[in-house]
Each structure stands twice: as structure tokens, then as C-alpha cells.
Symmetry: C2
Subunit: 187 residues, 2 copies
Amino acid sequence: MDTAERLIRSAQQLLWERGYVGTSPKAIQQLAEAGQGSMYHHFTGKQDLAFQAIRRNAEQLCSEADERLSTPGTFYERIAAYLLRERDVLRGCRVGRLAADPDVLASPVLRGLLDETFIWLNGRIEELLVEGRECGEFSEALVPSDVACAITAVVQGGYVLAMSAASPEPFERAARGALNLLTAYTT
Amino acid sequence: MDTAERLIRSAQQLLWERGYVGTSPKAIQQLAEAGQGSMYHHFTGKQDLAFQAIRRNAEQLCSEADERLSTPGTFYERIAAYLLRERDVLRGCRVGRLAADPDVLASPVLRGLLDETFIWLNGRIEELLVEGRECGEFSEALVPSDVACAITAVVQGGYVLAMSAASPEPFERAARGALNLLTAYTT
DNA sequence: GTCTATATAGTGATAGAC
DNA sequence: GTCTATCACTATATAGAC
């Protein structure tokens, strides 16, 4: 694996674990076993490297989510598969965590990566709800665009609660709670 | 207002806006118009001051939430009043934001403040759901402990989505989505 | 209680040799 | 492409005068 690749992967890991402000170029270099000079040869600076690392993390998140959401079964089951999938909850969300980072919020280009990710995720869930409603699995009273957003939010908020508690339990309860509510709209 | 109080309030504001890692003692001093010496006279260091500021922010959050949750009306209406209350969504949650901060997570005493806050908030919402179920407003199929957690998570996740989008809209949709789901369980 | 001076370490980047 | 040197700046404190 070449140096640029090692730098990106190290940045991916550290951004996930510590956010942008909490991650220094030096820490990335050490984890990647690369020198100062290497990093600034391959990337223009911290933000450039972070951009590529965050994009990579976002792609992986979308890919993993899509896997569960595309599972066979009813639409309810597919959403349940997504919400209840095994996760290392206490690592937090590799994308959502950055939404609390002042430097990310101040940078339209970095924040844009988060925005895109959630737009995609939300849209994907909304599709399932729309289809589920059309085929009669969900009640007509269900509002797909709002409920999709609520489901996405439950996951992100579940991480926040779990990190605060230093326990995966609040995440799991929130996920079960969302499904419990969704059940009421299944016919 | 005395110096210690000004320092605490300045810290409250900066911690809310920028998190713990993103807030330096110097920035707090400048906002409070206090000198280096003053701060270290009244507090043992950054963490001590932050602890008191976060506790204050947490108390205010609980107090404001309780106000809406204690409103007159049906239990559904009280939860709706909480979810739909006017907020400056793009400021984020003054407590939840810190759940992404590596230094806060590494400090049991700081993290404990977040944990306590969400335990209280969750418990308060669960009470309403339990009472609402007992009086027949909600279906017996509703699981209060899980749904309470989901509601708390929707709010926290709503902030994450809104900050990412630099728009309050995702928060509002998530809140409406949660209520849309809850409606299905009202009799 | 508040001030200024000082200290150690870290941050984010640039320069130029190899 | 990588290395070391250097830089200006900030972070988080401590010391001691006033």
C-alpha cells in the first residue's frame, strides 16, 4: 500500500475516532508511518487530506447502509435490518460525528460531504417507505419524507445517546422504539 | 455580575458553539473580559470551568424541556409541544454536541453530565408515555421505554442532520415524522 | 483578585537538502 | 518522494508582583 493511501486510511480512522479539530496532521503521519514531507507532498494540507478521508468514510457508510436496506424481505424488515444491524455503536457514526465539529461546519466543502451523505441516506429510506405504502404494506397515513428523516435521525441520535452513556443500550432502545412505532402503521 | 460568573457564562456560550476541544481558555477569557490570572484564580483549569459551564447548560436544557413537557393538554400534545417548540436549531444541542468531543468522552466527570441529562430527559418522556398508555390515550402495544428513547434520539439526530445541511429543515421533518408515527398509536 | 511574565508542548505549514 | 530544519502561532498552565 503506498504512502498516500496509508495517509488517507489513517485519516479516516482518526477522523472517525476524534473528529477534525481533535485530529492533528502529526497524529495522522505517525499512524500512517509517513513523514511530514510526505503528507504535504501528496496533499495540500490537513483539509485536503481530511476531505478525501471523509469522502471515503461517507462512501463506506452509504455502501454498508445500502447493503441492509437492499436485503430481501418486506419493507419493514429491510428497515429493521438497517436499524438493528450489528454496529460498533461506541465508535459513533463516522460521518455524523463531524456535524459537531466547528471547523467542519465552517468549511462548506467539508460540511457538504455530510450533507450529501444524509441526503442520499434519507432518500434511500424514503424510497422504501413510498414503495411500501404503494404496495399496501404501510398505511396511507404514513408521510414518507418525514418518517424517513425521523428514522435517519433516530440512528444519529442513538449514537449521541450511546456515546453519552458509554453504552450501546440507548442506541438499541431507540432503534427498537422507532420500529415499535413503525409497526403501528403496518397493515 | 462578578468575574467568575462572567467566565462561566462565556464558557457556556463557547462550549455550545464550538465544543470542548474547540474552545480555548484564552477565548473564554476574552469573551468574559477577564485576565488569565482571574480564570486560574476562580477555577483550577479548563476542565473545572467547563464542568461548571456544562452543568449549567444541562440544567437550562432540562428546565426548558420540562416546560414544554409539562404543558396542559393530552400526552400527545405535550410531546408535540416539546418536539415542535421553537428552537434555534442551527446552534445545535448545547449538551448533545459534546457527545462527539474526544476530550469530553475521555473524561468520566464531563461525560457523566451528558449521561445524567439524557437519563433525566428520557425518564421524563417515558413517564408521559406510561401515563398516556394507562389512561388509554396510547395503545397498549406502545413500549414506553423504547419509544421515549427514540423520541430523545430524534431530537438529537435532528440536530445532527440540520447542522450537516446548514438548515433547520431536516430537524423539523424528523420531528414531524416522529409525531406522524406516534399518531398511529393514539386511540 | 487581578496582572504580567514565563514555560512547555503542540499545531499546521513551508523550505530546501537528498 | 521523503527527510530534516525551521517557523509563527496557539494551548494550557504556573509564578510571582501588585
